[in-house]
Amino acid sequence: MQVRDIPMIKTVQRSLLGLALLFTGGVAADEVKVAVAANFTAPMQAIAPAFEKATGHTLVASFGATGQFYTQINNGAPFDVFLSADDTTPARLESEGATVPGSRFTYAIGSLVLWSADASYLDGTDAALKAGQFRHLSIANPKAAPYGLAAMQVLDKLGLSEAVKAKLVEGQNITQAHQFVSTGNAELGFVALSQVYKDGQVSSGSAWIVPDTMYDPIKQDAVMLKQGANNPAAAALVEYLKGPEAARVIESFGYKL
């Protein structure tokens, strides 16, 4: 008599088989793996369920820094679609042949905001920044995150680069830059408007929405990667992102289109 003949083992095996069969339903739906720039985390989390409901496909999102994703994609990371925080990285991937040609489009135009978790710290202007009475100013790493680069441009425009140099702390991506401010470790920081903005206003803390003229436009491009070429879910996602429902969500987070 083998172990597999024992009645209880047979029951367990049959139950496991039954469970496995239950989960393999929905053969018509495909899965799209998306690499999403950290600043777009909240909008994507709002768009994903709507997309899944509308199309029946599954969306699996990974959030991180644009520079990091570029390296990972070049080393075979299994993404179908890439939502970057800038327009140069998708262009670079395109010129290296890692994308489906012609699939690149701008899905959002980002806004930079100087934000503090303290609701009384900023008064809607750059006064506190110029006064310099803070110990730490948080930005995203300018070499890896376009919002970090934009922050440096703003500091240059205001002539404050040298003055704040000793107080700068860099987050590895815009999410970490935001974390430093939200935990109070940095009194203020340059973050993406989408991280602190919902339905027409800054949802907590205090802010100075930086005028567009002070930094190069943060055009955020999306592109379909080679892996997503024959994936219907990937094509459906690209279409959905260009559509009106997605546009409504994207704009509600403070992006422009």
Binding site: A65, G67, Q68, Y70, T71, R135, H136, S138, N141, K143, A144, L168, V169, E170, G171, Q172, Q179, F180, T183, G184, N185, A186
Partner: protein, 226 residues
């Protein structure tokens, strides 16, 4: 050698951090390990478990809790602020504190094992020869536990050199203060500066290998207790 000033600063900073952490941990860890080795108190198990926590916790967990507690709203941060020391996030001191937590079990456990291996007999013999507890500790225990101390020092140094998750959470990437080699390599890779990443990573690999090789060949003659 195409290493920038930031790269060289990062190397120096990392060596400073690892050395300081090792020295401090040997000072803190020795009494703790001695107590753990000799006590029969019910606290032995819970304290031993807390000491071993950094072995199993992802470094980002340690880093995250440090970020929150060292900040102005956290327990530790409010303590340091009331002492007029400000907050320790984004400072070298903060990194040292983080590293002490991170490498604690790597010092305490080898020392505890070494102390336990000595047993009671040598100490009882020393006591019958009128050695005071301090005297017997320094003249009997320390020499016998020397392999344990060497292991503890090597492990703590090497482990702190490789520290990444904790530094990433509380460092803020400040050149000369919190930008250690592991973070700098990560920065280079993210910025697609692969040549510099190779130089730094390869250099640290070679350095670590040489250090370990030297120390292990020095110890092979004395490999008894460990």
């Amino acid at each position: 050698m195409p290493l920038s000033k930031n790269d060289l600063d990062a190397i120096l900073l990392t060596l400073e951090l690892a050395s300081l952490t090792t020295v401090l941990l040997l000072i803190i860890g020795t009494p703790l390990a001695w107590w753990l080795a000799r006590t029969d108190s019910w606290l032995k198990r819970p304290v031993g478990a807390v000491v071993a926590l950094p072995l199993v916790l992802p470094p980002t967990v340690i880093g995250f809790y440090l970020l929150v507690s060292m900040g102005p709203n956290g327990f530790f941060g409010q303590l340091t602020q009331s002492l007029g020391l400000g907050t320790f996030t984004f400072t070298f001191t903060g990194l040292v504190i983080g590293s002490i937590f991170y490498s604690l079990p790597f010092v305490v456990q080898p020392l505890q094992n070494a102390f336990e291996a000595i047993g009671r007999a040598p100490l009882e013999a020393a006591a019958t020869l009128r050695a005071s507890p301090w005297d017997s500790f320094f003249s009997v225990v320390l020499p016998l536990a020397r392999p344990g101390f060497i292991t503890a020092a090597i492990l703590s140094f090497a482990h702190t050199i490789g520290e990444f998750g904790v530094v990433l959470m509380i460092g803020g990437n400040i050149p000369g203060k919190t930008q250690v080699v592991s973070v700098q390599i990560y920065n280079h890779v993210e910025a697609m500066e692969y040549a510099q990443a190779h130089w730094l990573a390869g250099g640290m690999l070679a350095f670590s290998f040489i250090v370990l090789l030297t120390l292990y060949s020095g110890r092979s003659h004395k490999m008894r207790a460990l």
